[in-house]
């Protein structure tokens, strides 16, 4: 493959944008065959306009996507996650590398479910060599998952517990301190329905008759948070 790769780096920190650029340039120096045409966007709106423009020329080959992004002006896209879903819809062939500082399993799981990135990097795990490796792998034989993600996948696969999205949402809301009585605002269920779910979750995690703290601790230990 000796073609030009169109790359878009979406991150609100110029430092990081520059770091990725340096990385790409460094890679193209090491591997003659890899050539990059690099653009960058520091918020959702800019990113979308660039992507829409690129549709005329077959779109981007590779997008670096940060999850923690300022929301779009029309508030339709609140984070990198939403943006990822949009990119998948607009240019399905584009390969996406999600790089995030989040280590929360729930968030990571959700990103997996919605964006299904070709490369999944957790920033604090990442070294320069791993970044090189990740870019190469995603271009040639995706996917590339960093260590944290691999661990999450392993836990998920080996777990005997089966939780659906509602269960996970409830656990997440509880973990960020949402009161049970406020849960119906975030979960599309009635209060008794939520209570039923919680009872079921307590049973699953073997913390019957204990408080929510214990439930969340257990859920975290099992990798659901």
């Amino acid at each position: 493959m000796n073609s030009m790769n169109n790359v878009l780096i979406i991150d609100d920190h110029p430092l990081i944008v520059n770091a990725y650029k340096d990385g790409l340039l460094h890679l193209s120096k090491l591997e003659e065959a890899l050539k990059f045409n690099i653009e960058s966007a520091c918020d959702c709106d800019e990113a979308i306009s660039l992507i829409l423009k690129s549709q005329a020329t077959n779109g981007y080959d590779l997008i670096f996507l940060d999850i923690q992004l300022p929301p779009s002006k029309d508030k339709k896209i609140l984070s990198g996650e939403d943006l990822g879903v949009k990119i998948r819809k607009l240019t399905p062939n584009t390969r996406i590398i999600v790089s995030t500082t989040y280590t929360n399993n729930y968030r990571l799981y959700n990103i997996f479910k919605t964006v299904d990135p070709d490369g999944f990097l957790v920033k604090t795990d990442l070294t320069n060599d791993m970044l090189m490796d990740a870019i190469k792998t995603v271009i040639k034989y995706p996917p590339y998952y960093c260590k944290t993600i691999s661990k999450l996948i392993r836990k998920e696969m080996s777990s005997k517990l089966i939780l659906d999205k509602v269960d996970r949402d409830i656990l997440y809301q509880l973990s960020i301190g949402t009161r049970t009585k406020d849960l119906p605002k975030f979960i599309p269920l009635s209060k008794p329905g939520i209570e039923g779910r919680k009872r079921h979750l307590r049973k699953i995690f073997n913390v019957e008759n204990k408080n929510d703290g214990e439930l969340i601790k257990a859920a975290r230990n099992s990798g659901f948070l």
Binding site: L15, V17, T101, L126, N211
Partner: protein, 665 residues
Amino acid sequence: MVVSLISYNKKKLDSSISSIQSIGADSTSFYLKGIKQNSRDEIFVDQALKKAYQYNYKVSYDSLKNRNLLKIAYEAKRFGRDSIFVKANTEGLLLSEKIRDTFGVADAQWNFGSYYYTKENWELSFKFYYKAHINFESIKHEQFSGKMLFNMANVQSQLKDYTGSEITTFQAIKRFKKINNYLSLYRCFNQLGLIARDLKEFDRAKEYFIQALLYLDEIEDSDVYREFVYNNLGLVYQDIQNYEAAIEYFNIPLNRTELKEENIAFYARLLDNLTYNRFLKGEKEEIETSFLTALKIRDSINNISGVIINKIHLSEYYAFMQDTTKAIQFTKDALTLSKKVNNNREWLKSLHWLAKIDRANADNYLEQYVLLSDSLQHEERKIRNKFTRIQYETDEVIKENKLLGNKLILTSISGLILILILSLIYFIFIQRSKNKQMLLEQDQQKANQEIYQLMLAQQSKLEEGRSSERERLSSELHDGILGKLFGTRVGLGFLDLQGDAQTKKKLQGFVNEMQQIEQEIRAVSHDLQNEILSSKIDFYIMAKQYLEKLCNIEGIELIIENDDNINWEMIDTDYKVNIFRVIQESLQNTIKHADASMINVIFAKKQGQLLMKIKDNGKGFNTENKSKGIGLKNMALRIGKLGGSFNIMSKPLNGTSIIISIPLK
């Protein structure tokens, strides 16, 4: 002989006394019993009555003393011991009045009535019988009320107030018929017969006597009474000059051989009556001897009125036999005797007869007769008038008493109504204050809950503030600093530095170090997030913070233990409010009174019971000695309302422990 008898009696008495002293207060009734058993022994009776009267002073119980007095009076009257009778009966009457014993009053009045009857003081006798009658009537004692009427009739007939006596007797009959007292009815009809005979209504007299006999058919062993009636019937037939019928009636009892032994006086009377009728009929045989036999008997038993009648009969016989001297002599004897015993009836009869046979002194005797008869009639009339007055006066007194009684009843009824109204008002008042208290308690509970909720809200606001600050810090670290560090590190890594290998290696070391720093920052951010979670407000944390704050101020060491099994969130707010109050109250107690340096609070859950133990190492107190203070009572009340138990254990110098246990729903 007499002396030895007295000494013998004294011995007997002394031995009785010694046995009595062991019995104590019963001595009076013992003597009274002794009198009944030894009624023939005159000297013993005399002594025993005196002793009984003396001992009765030692009786302190009024109603017993009274009963004894009346018994003594009755016995004294029976044996003619006037001085003791008057003393005992007067005291008995006064005491009965004092203790409002109507029966006792009537009984004493009865005693006086019969006492004055024997003394022939008709006026007083009648007065007391009448009063007794009224009193017995007021307590609905038909028998005695009737008896008193009968006695009154007796007095009236003695004074020849025959109509008055008849009326009174019928009043008595009315009462006796009500209670079917046949013996008393016999007496009444016998008396009516006697009255009718005195009024010379002989047919009526016969009817009454036969009626009396009919009543006697109703009772057993009535022979003795029957014989009296036969005697009376004989006299009626004598009056209507049917001497043969009279003789028949007199003969019925006389033919009974036991009579002479049983009642010698009555036998002599019958014999006299029989002989007189035989004489009147015209028989001549054994008239004188029979009269003399009867006279001899009567003389021997000192039956003076009998002797008088007997002598007049004999005088009539001698007059008929033309033996005028003997006739005058016997009548004069009768006259003297009747004067002596005040037997007016026979006195008059004697004068009348003397005027007939002693022709020389006839005028003199007639004059005496008229004079005596006039004065007697005058006297009788005077007393008869008094009867009406006595009745009137007594009735007035009774009316007044009744009026007073009515007033008393009215007063007590209005008093009762007043008390009723007052107690009603009191109860309503109590009820209202109870309701008020209940409302107050409800308000208090509400206020308590509100306070708890406020505390909770306050606490959670504080916690919210802290949380949001933590969150801000956390996200600042995570999103900002961490990202920038990452960018810097990666950027540094890609720098194409011109330097020796050592410098490059050093750079790599710094880059690695930076990655380490990133990890640390992430961990810090993570911890901050976690604390947000764990700082969720629950009861235990609130209680702990409260205790810590106060203990800190007071310089008391606090050891607090929670049980992870307690799901505070699931426990009813009401429970938590009350438990929190108990904590507050007992902590206040510890601070104020215990002088403690350490306090230990333990929450636990066992067998569905929530347990809390608060223990201090203070000076304690004696739980038995001290009346429970309002604080302790309140605590016990609070826990009791939740169906739990509240225990306080303390000993002087040994600290205080409060243990509560509440069943969880």
